[in-house]
Amino acid sequence: MNLRESTHIALQGLSANVLRSALTMLGILIGVGSVIVLVAVGNGSSVAVQKRIEGLGTNTLVVMRTRGGFGGFGGGGGFGGGGGGRATNGTQSSVSQLTTKDVTALGDKSQAPDLKAVAPVINEASVTATYSGATYAPSQFVGTNADYLSIRDYTIADGAAFTNQDVTDRNRVALLGQTVVTNLFGTQNPLGATVQFNGIDYHVMGVLTPKGSNGAQDQDDIVITPITAVQDTLAGANAPLSQITVEARSRGAMTAAADEVTTVLLGTHHITDPTQADFQVLNQATLLSTASSTNSVFTVLLGAVAAISLLVGGIGVMNIMLVTVTERTREIGIRKAIGARRSDILGQFLVEAVLLSLMGGVLGVGLGLIGSKFKIVGVTPVVAWYSVGLAFGVAVGVGLFFGLYPANRAASLRPIEALRHE
């Protein structure tokens, strides 16, 4: 008897009790579906981290001051350890600030040859933008210099970027992210318009090319202005810098650049003992790749949980197949009496079990792909195709494995006893 006949007979068997077959399939369906969705969620958060790393700009270091008594990032060990002195922090009760003087010192090529660009950053919190009646609070309001754009990989879609001349001239100009433009201007052209930030007039001179979300935040929800203008208006003249963003010459020069930054700033802050530094140099890419590897552990864990539900589904298949074999004992006897071989009966029930899990698998893949279209706990799932193949293959394997015992039981029934069965 060939596979086609076995399939025909098996389908007939499955359709004898549609509800039961459907419920059994549901077990496999949920198993396969959850493997796909959960792996996609894990994968999605990895992808988000990856994007965030790219969004930080390549070869970027961030210098932040350490607040007194604040432990920072675990004494430098928190982001990969290696490269001694690359990242130092400490605890100190007196709080000193990062200033534009530090930025100037870092700009000295003789002291820091591995730095390509340095940008001071003031992040102003709770700034509200107003334009002809429309108001909007951008999530980031950044005062910086002209190098910031290239360090952070921002480009201009429309209009022009401000220059360091604008910074020197303390011009109140602004570059708007797409999200800000949409919320403030709708479909109108923002170029040349005057927007009020907390009541202060700024001239819109450019619109940034959309970068999308980096997984954690919308990178287009940003306003970038010259740092001098922010110091004049919103932050105050002596406002400390929130951070200094530094771009290294190349990825390979990151460690050297971090060392140079540390040396220069220890000098400007008059600190001799590096362990007493009142600032820290963060290589955020390293930090995030640590997060990324944590994430892949998370993905494996999610996959394992889902795989267990697949196993449970398989046991469901076995359970139902055992019931089916008992129920159809007489039918098995009849088939044997009219000439079915052991292998025919084995084939029939094995195909039935595999069909159950196969159909469950196909529907599960469908469900998993649909489920992965939705945002789950803030993560946009990214389907990992290996998980689809794996889940489907395992489902069929589960059907085969868990179908074998019941099918073998059916095949070994002795015809006279099977015929006598009521």
Binding site: M1, A16, G333, R335, K336, I338, G339, A340, R341, I416
Partner: protein
Amino acid sequence: MRPVLLALQHVEKRYDAGEISVIALREINLAVTRGEFVAIMGASGSGKSTLMNILGCLDLPTRGKYTLAGTDVRLLDDTDLAAVRNRLIGFVFQSFNLIPRTSALRNVELPLVYAGVKPRERAERARAALQMVGLENRSGHKPSELSGGQQQRVAVARAIVTDPAIILADEPTGNLDTTATAEMLDLLDHLHGLGRTIILITHEPDVAMRASRVVRLSDGRIVSDEYQTPSAAMHPSSHR
């Protein structure tokens, strides 16, 4: 003398039930030639079902020899026995034993499926068999949509579709009313008339009267083995 189709020599069947062993058949010697219509009679417990199981290759004798169409059945393994049942034996059971939720045609086709016959030829032969039992217009019906008499005729069609050497009918009329019984016996007569070898197991004397030979069993032994002139049908046969 026509050739011997099946022969039982010194056959004994013993069942072991824990400490005690029950002897269901002892010292059975029986030879059936091609084209015979044999009735095996006996009260319940006389061993006729055991004999039927052995004749039908559903069970093997504990001792003795069973030769079917020249083959010593004891030498066959499970797979060969399945093939023998498929090709040489056509079963008709008391309780019809059709596969539920499956059309009459598909039921009749089933032995051919296991024989590996191609679908087209299968359907043709199954239709011809249904026609022979007068149910060609019921081929799409499921067993639950057929009367008892009709179901048993489907079973007969299934028994003859492989063109077997013997038809083994185990109390085929046991679950049928008088009219259906008469029709069934006429059908068996008809098949016998076409040259089929039929072994009929029954406890009803008037059913056994239709056979040309009656073998009586009692306590697992053959107590008589007589040839007879088959009686006429119980009802004047309008059938065929």
